[in-house]
């Protein structure tokens, strides 16, 4: 296992752990106002300081991790849930009109500037975590469809698939029982990368006020709130940003590390 993989796994699990623990314990109530204690810099009692309402930043970061992870995870789920079946179908029916329609549809979604459309969707249907998930998730579908189709196509020519066909299995069964397990590695790697992109996208959307709404804490909105106070309370802007960076960096390193680790060609070359 490479250093990237370990560092990535450690950083990602740190964030995940913070999110999980926040369900049962945070240092303070993340929503409790405490005006006399407002705008404290990081100290022994409030590790990450307090915001303009005296809320504990550390607790808000922990609960915010929950929001980020939930949005990005469900968005990846949408991408996998729709994209993988589409990709498998396109590969199984390679060259047919169905393949053509699926792939042209993919190209079409790819051509859209995702951020602009996400803003359009959340603006029209109302800001909120659910609409942010849908807006981010839609653009994950073609990513997974394309990568699944590409990998599946190369498998369809292999002998073990031929053997399965000879034994009488239909295209759907072969796709589910033989193709899918063999493309799973690729999907895990891509899923990690889309996950990190989702975290960034969620932060961007909630920064402009189109993500999760108050009182649900989110890192992007913490940054938006901090913007006007950056001159006298820089920690409020610094800390949520660092939280995003640690998460995204961890996931990217994890993705890179997993790709190297799971790719048998590279493993052989290294051995």
């Amino acid at each position: 296992m490479s250093r990237n993989l370990i560092l990535g796994a450690v950083l990602s699990s740190l964030v995940l752990l913070a999110a999980v623990i926040s369900f049962v314990w945070t240092p303070y109530d993340h929503a409790a106002l405490n005006i006399p204690n407002k705008l404290q810099p990081p100290n022994a009692r409030h590790w990450f300081g307090t915001d303009h309402f005296g809320r504990d930043t550390f607790s808000m970061i922990m609960v915010g991790a929950r929001t980020s992870i939930a949005v990005a995870l469900v968005a990846v789920g949408i991408g996998v849930g729709f994209g993988v079946p589409l990709g498998l179908t396109a590969a199984a029916r390679q060259g047919s009109w169905l393949d053509e329609v699926i792939m042209r549809g993919n190209d079409l979604v790819f051509a859209f500037p995702s951020l602009v459309i996400a803003i359009l969707i959340t603006a029209v249907f109302g800001a909120g975590a659910i609409n942010a998930i849908i807006a981010i998730g839609i653009f994950n579908i073609p990513v997974f469809a394309r990568i699944t189709r590409g990998a599946a196509l190369s498998l369809w020519g292999r002998e073990f698939i031929l053997a399965a066909r000879v034994s009488g299995k239909g295209a759907a069964r072969i796709s589910a029982e033989h193709i899918l397990p063999n493309v799973a590695n690729l999907l895990i790697v891509q899923g990690t990368i889309q996950f990190s992109l989702g975290i960034l996208a969620e932060a961007g959307l909630s920064y402009v006020g189109l993500g999760a709404q108050p009182p649900t804490p989110s890192w992007g909105r913490m940054l938006a709130d901090a913007q006007t106070m950056v001159s006298f309370a820089p920690h409020l802007a610094l800390i949520p940003g660092l939280a995003i960076i640690v998460t995204v960096l961890g996931l990217n390193l994890l993705g890179d590390g997993l790709r190297d680790w799971l790719d048998p060609r590279i493993r052989v070359a290294r051995a």
Binding site: P113, L115, V124, L223, V230, P240, I245
Partner: protein, 315 residues
């Protein structure tokens, strides 16, 4: 080549038509009637009807879609519900901020990424390479609007080299305009530069393994000469493609950065229009951005096919 260009042109047109239908439909299902929003809840029914007729809202959806698309084809983007000025005029004004900002960021990102990528590839596996690669990993993970806030904190609030936000306007001179776009352009350019540097590096590494590079060394060129004359030149093809795609990304990505710096660009126009439910403005600006992105992608594909004949057979 001509056949390929024609095929791509057809799919460009289909994309644009589908995009316009999707955007129109999304805006259509938006709750709220612009006329009653403008006049308030106490408006009389006949006043509302008159305003709807004035805004062109009293005809069927299909008719309104055709009016909208037909108008855009001749440069008429309709009239803003809130400002009562032509949307095309509003877009043109804002364009003079957004377009230079995207170009400025593109130039910066190229200036950072090319040397960094070439340096890293030339020193593959050595500390210099690892440092550059580590920096790019970090660059990709940094949200650009957060980086923008940090730039404001350091260069505007503490050092006072720049204004924290706002746009001086081009009529104050080229220098004043560029000066107020510098921090936003840096914030936009950094994450893009990180991606571009990685592409530059891996593309150059592919080329360095080619036989003709060995031949270049064998005929007596130094490593440096071979790298520049044969390596970098050939490595540029995929890099230029990414560069083209990045321009459209920068144009769209500027939306959030404009929020950070209170720049009067297309992004701020969209957000103001959203909060005022000025949907005709939202609709037209989004369509314009989609048009820009799809068209740039099309041009990049054509340019790529022109230099690499192998791609033409692939549809």
């Amino acid at each position: 080549m001509l056949r390929y260009a024609f095929k791509r042109l057809i799919s460009l047109l289909i994309s644009l038509v589908v995009a316009s239908v999707v955007i129109f439909a999304v805006i259509e299902v938006a709750p709220g009637d612009p006329a009653s929003f403008m006049l308030g809840v106490n408006a009389q029914e006949d006043t509302l009807a008159a305003l709807r007729a004035e805004l062109g809202l009293d005809v069927s959806n299909a008719q309104r879609y055709l009016d909208w698309v037909g108008g855009m084809l001749v440069g008429d983007f309709g009239t803003s519900y809130t400002y009562r000025t032509p949307v095309s005029q509003m877009i043109a004004d804002r364009m003079w901020v957004s377009l230079p900002l995207a170009l400025y960021a593109l130039i910066l990102s190229t200036l950072i990424a090319f040397p960094a990528g070439i340096y890293a590839a030339a020193r593959r596996g050595k500390p210099g390479d690892l440092t550059v690669m580590g920096a790019t990993q970090l660059g990709i993970a940094v949200p650009n609007f957060w980086f923008a806030m940090m730039l404001v904190l350091i260069f505007a609030i503490n050092l006072r080299w720049f204004n924290a936000g706002g746009f001086a306007g081009w009529n104050k001179g080229l220098w004043a305009g560029l000066h107020s776009l510098t921090l936003p352009a840096i914030a936009l350019a950094l994450p893009q530069a990180a991606i571009l540097a990685r592409v530059m590096r891996s593309s150059l590494l592919d080329i360095l393994g080619e036989d003709f590079m060995r031949t270049a060394r064998a005929k007596g060129l130094t490593y440096r000469q071979a790298l520049w004359r044969h390596g970098v030149r050939n490595a540029l093809i995929p890099v230029l493609t990414i560069l083209g795609l990045q321009f459209s990304f920068l144009l769209a990505g500027a939306i959030i950065i404009e929020q950070v710096f209170y720049l009067p660009g297309l992004g701020r126009l969209v957000f103001q229009a959203i909060s005022a439910r000025d949907l005709i403005v939202v609709e037209s600006v989004v369509m314009l951005l989609v048009f820009a992105v799809i068209t740039v992608n099309f041009l990049v594909d054509l340019a790529y096919a022109a230099v690499d004949p192998r791609l033409r057979s692939r549809t």
